[in-house]
Amino acid sequence: MGLSMFKTFARFGLTAILLGSALAAPVSAAEIKIGEINSYSALPAFTEPYRKGWQLAVEEINADGGINGDELVVISKDDGGKPGDAVTAANELVAREGVVLLTGGFFSNVGLALADYAKQRRVFFLAGEPLTDAMVWSQGNEYTFRLRPSNYMQASMLAEEAAKLDATKWATIAPNYEYGQSAVAVFKERLQELKPDVEFVAEQWPPLGKIDAGSVSQAIDAAEPEAILNVTFGPDLVQLVREGTTRGLFQDRDVVSFLTGEPEYLDPLGAEAPEGWIVTGYPWYDIDTPEHQAFVDAYQAKFDDYPRLGSLVGYIELKMIGEILKKAESTDAEDLIAAAKDLEMDTPFGPITLRGIDHQATLGAYVGTTAVRDGKGVMVDFTYKDGADYLPSDERVQELRPQ
């Protein structure tokens, strides 16, 4: 009893202080604080562009009158790539900084830890980049939403393209952890649905970040597949491309590859980028819709750098939060959820919906073919795949997601 009384006092005191400071500075409007958590120190190559993206969005929102007149303030924390530390940061943001919602995440495990925290503490959470399907399905919860097209959606997009190929004998190379395993599983399932005569003749599961690409290439080559699915990325991908190319692994074979078209993964390869791979990605240089061009121009003007996919995700993430807050006209978690469900908004990729049924945004991805242009890897012959077309039926979603 003493405790709760003390807390009431403390809260009262805090409110008084906040009121006092608000009164002392009457010129500035009220603030709406939101919390953002990402793996800035562990994955700077991905999170730096992402940070720039949301910074641009916050600037635009506040320049445009803020959230119904209130200033949007983002308090950003590093999680060091560790889910445990992300939960600590979430606690700091929610309990100490008094943020009204949480957003962010890159690694799936960090995203899931935050989602579970959001459920337990009843805080609204919009996950930006984490890909795992569990986020909105098997581990989905009322408080968690996700922006980026999920593993399932990207696998479906790639499987659709893969089904158009003549190849029926497939091999897979994927990093041996949850992401790699589920990417392969969904791709297999979707491809076999679309083309029942395919068979998978070999699989390799190198450890993340430690591929022995020469041995892996030879092992795959020995199984004589007609096509290869690749899920590796980063330094593993570079090594696989080099060793595989030298060994003729990709000669006369179709290759379908997750994420490889994203500037984050394609650009480091430079002129050695593989050609003719079917990939998901973000060809920012050739998307000529006005809404996208506006984003690229604003981004380049502000940062003197070109956008990566992370930049776009960060940008849309904060724009989406702006829309949710505006629509909810409240910072209460339940009101935010109500506002977020079936929210429709425009993005540089076109209009998207934040689905009420499973809290997944219908943001899509570009699927195209890799090529080398001016000594750099690019995506050509790409099309935008609307995420809404690559999600399972509502009945299936209800089975997948605990109600």
Binding site: A45, T88, E92, A95, A113, Q139, Q181, S215, T246
Partner: protein, 632 residues
């Protein structure tokens, strides 16, 4: 058939780069007895430096010049590190050297980030060696042929250097008997610097030679260092030929292993090491280094149970801690609970290290086992928190009983490495075995029971368990069992001459420490609501080591203070800066060099020390007080 041939050759090519890094590590250990954790950092620096140089130096000559210059530049950096840092800690116990070089690794990671930026860099391929030749109808990259040749060439070069030059003869003599070489009037300082520089040159060369194969990234260091440790340990610390054989064994096992079990890579190397160490505790060609083993926990002043005054003081501190929920908000209590969990983890490790003289580098294994035990009990059995908290110490205990049986057969660096290997095996299992452990996505929804779910009650729960753990472990330290454990640490010879078994006593201590770590792990899982493989990872083990060191390795339970300070500092750093590794690494280095007694050790020296202290200045606290008392 042709597949097996090329697979064999690919394995050999891989072995070459592993060997380059491992030979340097083994060479350095052989002479200086330093287990250089920073070896991976220098490997990475070699790659980055080569990347930069190949951008300015063109052509085939330029490329190879760039590789060599890069290795030389990094070797000079290594020499500077040796002169500035390592010279100060040659006499310290292995643990201090491992930690100091680990601190350097952390710093290098952030420095690389600041200098070269965050993105992966892809260097040029070796001019003239981009292609492949056909071996039995299958293409073999020409660069691989170069690497395959390079391994034996370097081995031969090192052999000639060691056997055909005066310098080499001195180095070998120093490997056998350092004091003798010093007595011969050889300047040992510069001999050590020379050896360290050569070792770093080899590591940097190994890194530089990677740029035609893979991307240069700031994760290179940690991904290579563990493998290189394993290679040197399998080969026998200090044996260059042993490292060569081990590199070939591991690489070939991997090349052929993935043909049968495509997902075996990550576990294979550690399984290999565990098997080798069980059969040959000192690796292929290593020699026992028992005589060189110095326990970090030895103190001049005998430990004593708390006096009445100290007990009252401790009770007051606990009482104040128990009243904190009336002052602290939700976040403060959350951090407080995290500190209490760190306290339990740290004191369990301290029991093993300070009392037992067993420097575990894989204590995270038991923390993680407890956490996973509790989480799985909740998830698969639907157990409530109370039951899970009982199961967790049992899973930690069982894990410690299984692994400890192998570990306590070894001592010193080999003990540390085997504990590390077991922790890594567990980590690999948790990371890869998705259907059971949830893999990287972990196990979610591990929240406390209703009564304990408020931040205040959960804090009280962790405080109560922490107080219980500290009290129980202190009681153990001062029980006959604790004395026997300490006796074994002080003098194995004497202990066996008065009838106690080193292995049995240490095995029991290992199990006790595992059980308490498991308890800490379970509380951690319920605090965070979820558990992921990183609870089993190397950083988790290192956190524990730093806490013990910060508190004072020569104290009974100084790690209580160490855990609280360290947890507060790292949460604050994480919250305030993106360069937390730079700061943390610097902190560790300073701690080891300037402050080896830790907070509690230093304070108790000030309070009760001068009356008891026999040796005045110098790093007496970390040296065995009667270093010569361990007989032949």
């Amino acid at each position: 058939m042709s597949l097996y041939v090329v697979q064999f050759l690919a394995g050999l090519a891989n072995a070459a780069s592993l060997f380059l890094a491992a030979s340097g590590l083994s060479l350095i250990f052989g002479v200086t007895r330093i287990v250089n954790f920073a070896h991976g950092a220098f490997y990475m620096l070699g790659a980055y430096m080569a990347f930069t140089l190949t951008r300015t130096l063109d052509g085939a000559v330029g490329f190879w010049a760039a590789i060599l210059i890069a290795a030389a530049v990094v070797a000079v950096m290594g020499a500077l590190l040796e002169m500035v840092l390592l010279r100060r800690i040659y006499q310290a116990p292995e643990l201090f050297q491992l930690l100091a070089t680990f601190g350097v690794t952390l710093m290098v990671e952030d420095i690389v980030l600041l200098v070269w930026g965050p993105e992966d860099l892809v260097g040029p391929r070796a001019p003239g060696l981009e292609g492949a030749i056909l071996v039995m109808g299958r293409p073999l990259p020409t660069y691989d042929i170069l690497l395959i040749a390079l391994g034996p060439i370097v081995l031969l070069g090192l052999w000639l250097l060691m056997h055909r030059t005066r310098w080499g003869v001195l180095v070998r003599a120093a490997t056998q008997d350092r004091d003798m070489v010093a007595a011969l009037g050889v300047n040992q300082k510069w001999l050590f610097t020379g050896v360290f520089t050569l070792g770093i040159f080899l590591a940097a060369l190994g890194g530089a030679l990677q740029i035609p194969r893979t991307a240069v990234s700031h994760h290179m260091d940690l991904s290579i260092i563990v493998e290189v440790f394993v290679i040197t340990v399998i080969g026998g610390l200090g044996s260059i030929t042993g490292a060569f054989l081990a590199a070939i064994l591991v690489s070939l096992l991997n090349a052929f292993g993935i043909l049968i079990f495509p997902s075996i890579s990550l576990v294979l190397i550690f399984l290999c090491m565990a098997v080798v160490l069980v059969i040959r505790p000192w690796g292929f060609l290593g020699k026992p280094v028992v005589a060189g083993h110095k326990s970090a926990g030895v103190t001049v002043r005998p430990w004593q149970p708390w006096s009445r005054e100290a007990r009252i003081g401790a009770a007051i501190v606990v009482a104040i801690a128990a009243l904190l929920p009336f002052w602290l908000g939700t976040y403060g209590l959350f951090v407080g609970a995290e500190m209490m969990i760190a306290v339990i983890f740290a004191v369990s490790l301290q029991f093993l290290m300070s009392t037992g003289g067993l420097d575990s580098f894989g204590h995270a294994a038991y923390f993680g086992l407890g956490a996973y035990g509790a989480a799985m009990a909740v998830k698969w059995l639907g157990a409530p928190m109370e039951a899970a908290l009982l199961i967790a110490p049992l899973t930690g205990l069982v894990g410690a009983l299984v692994f400890g049986w192998f570990c306590v057969r070894l001592s010193g660096v080999y003990f540390a490495m085997l504990t590390l290997a077991f922790a890594q095996i567990l980590w690999s299992i948790a990371f890869q075995w998705v259907p059971v452990t949830g893999g990287d996505n972990g196990i979610l929804g591990v929240w406390p029971s209703g009564w304990a779910s408020s931040p205040a009650t959960y804090y009280w729960l962790t405080l109560a368990v922490a107080v219980f753990s500290v009290a129980a472990l202190r009681m153990l330290v001062f029980s006959p069992f604790g004395y026997a454990l300490r006796g074994v640490r002080d003098s194995t010879l004497r202990a066996s001459a008065i009838g106690f078994s080193r292995q049995r006593v240490q095995y029991a201590a290992f199990a006790v420490a595992g059980a308490f770590a498991g308890l800490a792990g379970a509380l951690f899982a319920f605090l965070k609501g979820s558990i992921f493989p990183d609870a089993l990872s190397i950083p988790q083990s290192v956190d524990g080591l730093v806490m013990v060191l910060l508190g004072g390795i020569a104290t009974v339970s100084g790690s209580v203070v160490g855990a609280i300070v360290y947890t507060a500092a790292s949460i604050w750093l994480m919250s305030q800066t993106d360069l937390s590794r730079l700061v943390l690494g610097g902190l560790i280095v300073v701690l080891v060099v300037a402050f080896p007694k830790g907070i509690v050790g230093s304070i108790s020296d000030l309070v009760g020390g001068p009356l008891f202290r026999r040796r005045g200045a110098g790093p007496a606290g970390r040296e065995a007080a009667v270093a010569g008392s361990e007989g032949a």
